[in-house]
Amino acid sequence: MMEKMFEVQDPVNHDTQTLQVNIGPQHPSTHGVFRMNVVLDGETVVSLKPVMGYLHRNHEQIAENISYTASMPYTDRLDYFNSMSNNFAWALAVEKLANLDVPERAQYIRVIMAELTRLVNHVSVIGFLLNDLGAFFTPVLYAFREREKILDIFEEVSGARMMCNFLRFGGIKRDLPAGTLERIKEVIQNFPKFLDEFETLLTKNEILCMRCQNVGVLPAELAVNASITGPMLRASGVNYDVRKADKYSIYDRFDFKIPLGQTGDVYDRYYCRVLEMRESLKILQQALRDIPVTGEIISKKMAPFVKAPRNFKPPVGEAYGRVEAPKGELGFYVVSDGTPQPWRYHVRAPSLINLTILEDLCIGHKVADAIVILGSIDIVLGEVDH
């Protein structure tokens, strides 16, 4: 009798209906104002269509109407966790366009800031990922405690916690205040302790492993084909890092490894980020050791434009500058027409392009896993929608 009750009768033509669920734009687990149109069969995802644009702030239109330097604070607001990396990419693009060189000390400061940004981003992302897994807010408390320490450095250096607006074409805005390097060293010294603590709580945690392993597996071939970049690509086992491939700025001087994943699931993405933080710490240590004590901070070519940035007119031409931002490859494509405003300004936003394969990853998983997969892609809506 009991056996008969639970017998599955013709699973294909089972008399069930699919259910369309709309997640977002106001939803605690969509990391802002992202929206997913999900079709569910029971709890299994059948189709998932991302809908974005709820934070489309016409970044490109504004940048085409203002001077080159005035775009710098706008780039802060693209990926608002990592203002320094965004500045870096935009500065690189314009330096290529106008053929500028960057003094030694400024290069080091740029790299230090970019790597600190990576720490901030990865640590917050892991916090939010755990939030999505159901560990509500406790990991975020840990993560933000460390984030605040680094934000203090940013504030000391640039005057702002989040929107640093610190880099300039051919250099940086101003030199580091006295004692900042010591404080950075202190933060870096204490960071591994925090990472160990974080990892003790998480890395071998059974719940984390069960929820994340073999969920949202991204094959390497698809990852390259779909232009996925950043930790997500490397978690799939593809050895590609713009820092190594382009050797922009002074990244060729540092000795660091690129952590690679094996399966490309959510767990690998999590663990890749942890390892990347450890590598970033290595770069930071080397940079702090080698940084020249004094020196120019802005290129001589750009000195006249420090006080009058609107007079800066790069020659007619085009350039594409890209960096390894914490979320992936952040690129800026800029076309100059010889006036103070760029003719065309385009952002190659890693968050947006990494979302391409969201549907592929989620199909066949439960709806709760879809949330975790989205968390592991690591999107920031300012950058998705630019």
């Binding site: 085409e64 966790f81 975020v140 405690r145 989040m162």
Partner: protein, 246 residues
């Protein structure tokens, strides 16, 4: 003080004496407001950059729990306060108004950051709403880009002051026929329809920004496209070799 009428008329000295004996004298308004102001439940609702500072405010260092407002509710039905943290785009504005309508009375709104007040740095865009106060009434405007967590706490304290000054007899949500739901704008072919709700907001007669800077939309002003096909006048100068590390 703005909220003195809510204080009881009993002499302060006598009150102190009574308090020593374990008797508390207060007014119903004061008690009512004390309860409300110390347990504001904000909505867990982040739009953009400011939302990160809002999360930072909720975290250990700034600890919004000291002000009784740590319980971020994901559902508008359970929340008292909407912190509009970030740029409201035209695509998002209808949802924000809808969320406001779904909140239960008494409800308050803090606009956090320049964007939600007036569009902020993105004011000139085709998809950015120039301030959410075009559709819903705002209690506290909080400038900054983004405001620091301390500023959000200050804004919350200002809101507490406002709550303290309210009286049961005159509060809006106990009045008959009080309209606190605002129509949700529609998507039009060029922007939102309507552009603003004149019952809530009207353009200022004197627009200083316009006087000073003019309308700063430059799209279409440039009439000559750069000619990338033209051969370069001089061959591009090779970048000087980077100095080696010491």
């Amino acid at each position: 003080m703005a909220f003195s009428k809510n204080q009881s008329e009993v002499d302060e000295g006598l009150k102190g004496e009574l308090a020593k004996k374990g008797v508390v004298v207060t007014t119903i308004n004061q008690l009512y407001n004390w309860g409300r102001q110390s347990s504001i439940w904000p909505m867990q609702f982040g739009l953009a950059c400011c939302a990160i500072e809002m999360i930072a405010t909720a975290c250990a260092r700034y600890d919004i729990a000291r002000f009784g407002a740590e319980l971020f509710r994901p559902s508008p039905r359970q929340s008292d306060l909407m912190i509009v943290a970030g740029t409201v785009t035209k695509k998002m504005a209808p949802q924000v108004v809808r969320l406001y309508n779904q909140m239960a009375e008494p409800k308050y709104v803090i606009t956090m950051g320049a964007c939600s007040i007036a569009g902020g740095p993105f004011i000139d865009g085709y998809n950015v709403l120039r301030g959410i106060d075009r559709y819903i009434p705002i209690d506290v405007h909080l400038p900054g880009c983004p405001p620091r967590p301390e500023a959000l706490l200050y804004g919350l304290m200002e809101l507490q002051k406002k709550i303290q000054s309210q009286e049961i007899e005159t509060t809006e949500w106990y009045q008959k026929g009080m309209k606190r739901e605002y129509p949700v704008p529609d998507f039009g072919p060029h922007g939102l329809v309507p552009k603003f709700n004149p019952e809530v907001w009207q353009p200022r007669e004197l627009d200083h920004r316009k006087d000073k800077y003019g309308e700063p939309i430059l799209i279409g002003r440039k009439t000559k496209a750069p000619d990338l096909d033209a051969p370069l006048a001089t061959p591009p100068v090779a970048q000087p070799p980077k100095p080696q590390t010491a």
